[in-house]
Symmetry: C2
Subunit: 406 residues, 2 copies
Amino acid sequence: MALIVQKYGGTSVADPDRIANVANRVLKSYTEGHRMVVVLSAMAGETDRLINLAKEMCDPPDPRELDVLLATGEQVTVSLFSMFLRSQGVPAASLLGHQACIYTDRSYGRARIIGIDTTRIREELKKGRIVTVAGFQGVDEVGNITTLGRGGSDTTAVAVAAALKADLCEIYTDVEGVYTTDPRIYHKARLLPKISYDEMLEMASLGAKVLEIRSVGFAKQYQVPLRVRSTFSEHPGTLVCKEDESMEAIPVSGVTYSRNDARVSILGVPDRPGIAVKFFKPVADANIVVDLIIQNSSVDGRADITFTVPKGDLRQTLEIVREVGKEVGARDILSDENIAKVSIVGVGMRNNAGIAARMFEALAAAGINILMISTSEIKISCVIEDKFTELAVRVLHDAFQLDQPR
Amino acid sequence: MALIVQKYGGTSVADPDRIANVANRVLKSYTEGHRMVVVLSAMAGETDRLINLAKEMCDPPDPRELDVLLATGEQVTVSLFSMFLRSQGVPAASLLGHQACIYTDRSYGRARIIGIDTTRIREELKKGRIVTVAGFQGVDEVGNITTLGRGGSDTTAVAVAAALKADLCEIYTDVEGVYTTDPRIYHKARLLPKISYDEMLEMASLGAKVLEIRSVGFAKQYQVPLRVRSTFSEHPGTLVCKEDESMEAIPVSGVTYSRNDARVSILGVPDRPGIAVKFFKPVADANIVVDLIIQNSSVDGRADITFTVPKGDLRQTLEIVREVGKEVGARDILSDENIAKVSIVGVGMRNNAGIAARMFEALAAAGINILMISTSEIKISCVIEDKFTELAVRVLHDAFQLDQPR
């Protein structure tokens, strides 16, 4: 019999009826003889309600105290869930972050898990109990409550599964699994039965929101088999696991897109060593993540630098860049928010020549101009005009025949 | 400069505006140079909301998990309160029951504090912070969350004050302090500037709801000076403290009443040793608290036993008593819910003869029949017909001239 960690998101535990539904799902696996650890998120909307309450009090709220406040969301669901199981005569116990000994650093609001002492969880399992762990929260070395940031419950689940050396970590959500692309954009999107950690990491970082990216990193690091599936159906969903030969045969697994970035161009900067760092050091210091960077070839000793940043950071980025631009004598600074990034992802890309060419060809055939290109070992991204996003996703999905089961 | 513990109840922290108001009150004492520890209740109505949520899930809810759920109420207020202070540039930190190391036994829902390790609170105070402690909650020896029951935040405040050897514990509520009687029943009720622990204990046990009785017991045990006052005025309220000579000069400090009890009469039981215990042992075993007991003198070897129990326990009491009644051959068993208990309380009673006589005389003069009488060193209680409650309170208040300042 297996040790299984299951995680249920906010929509799965949105009200007492749904919590009871989740409890019955868990109970099914439990009665089959599996040892069960269940990680729960806050009820859908609760975290936002608490954030608004905090903002009514003061804005911005103190990060330490905000975490104390937000941690109540998961505390409510784990207690309701466990009391329901107990009312059904099932042994169960809830554990909060500090009780489950989920230790983190002290970065309130986006804490990183640094270790889990599983003694208490194992004790509860030994008593035959279904153990419910509050997701999203941890505790620092002196007992301050921390939270892991949006999607943090996925990370809790995978970290707990890794620490327990669980046989499987199932992430229950409101979609059936991981698709070849966003089904809301293309009806031909196909559910992937299996995907590698690396592909999932790329897809998550490129905008596919089905899994929180840190949780995938954890799963890869500790080789935790991860299954993404729906709370509201019996479909087995998508297994995220170690790469195997069958995966390498497929050059492209999915098409993703993101509209979160804006483009900044610095025109006519002196083309000499150390110029780029003058711009990117202060941007990095402001905690702004730069994604694609392109520097064109020099003309008359001057070059253009173009890069993308999250839209929310554009204003601050421009302030920094304009200041440095003045200092080094840049000719002009431009920005553009009407861009999108479409990407193809696949571990099979490594052994397949000509994938990039096929991508560019497909976009060109649809009349879509490529503004920037970036590649990694298993991913090719193109920045295009925003308005072409859906079209680009569809033509790429067709070009690589992603609607065909492999 | 003093070390002060202040406690604010649910109506004082009912919404963000009121929480800000409380913060400003605390800040006033802090800027005067006092070291401040603030104990907060859940926002008014929040505990009931959570209980209803639990009952929607299952009824009755599991006690351990209910405590996990209810503890979120105070967690919300302490975080909002502390983040507000921090937004004003004031150093502050919230501590939950487990962080403040408030250790209790494992009686979920009505846990008793067995000790407080003040190390963390003292550390925070040393840093110059206003320390906010979540009321009502504690933690057992293995880290399970417990709650202290209704009014438990008063107990938290007094216990923390005792453990810290604080100079003063102020209980802020929505009334001005302790009155000679309930001002809603008699407009001549007068605010008492001072009252002894013992008088307060009697008044609390007799129905005056201004302070939770366990907190008074704690205050007496550890000699914590307790001030009861209003969050919404500047009036200094009532000091609950050690008895002094000025108190002994006053025979009666207050008149209280209670309508919570019902009367049970067992008629015609054999008058022989061991009969009373046959009735009261099983009642006590059912956790039912018997208050007044009267046994009249024997006629023909048979006697009547009359006693009072809380109305909520009447049905169960009658079941027990009827069974034993059959066994010992009692003639009949009667019950009456239309009774009330009026009491006069005062430490000066000990040295003043004739207080009881004056009480009976005043009731008789008003045409009120006394059904049962019970006395302690500093209290006399009479059970009367329910309908006379207000009248009895007023005539007793007049008889002992409680409207006159001493």
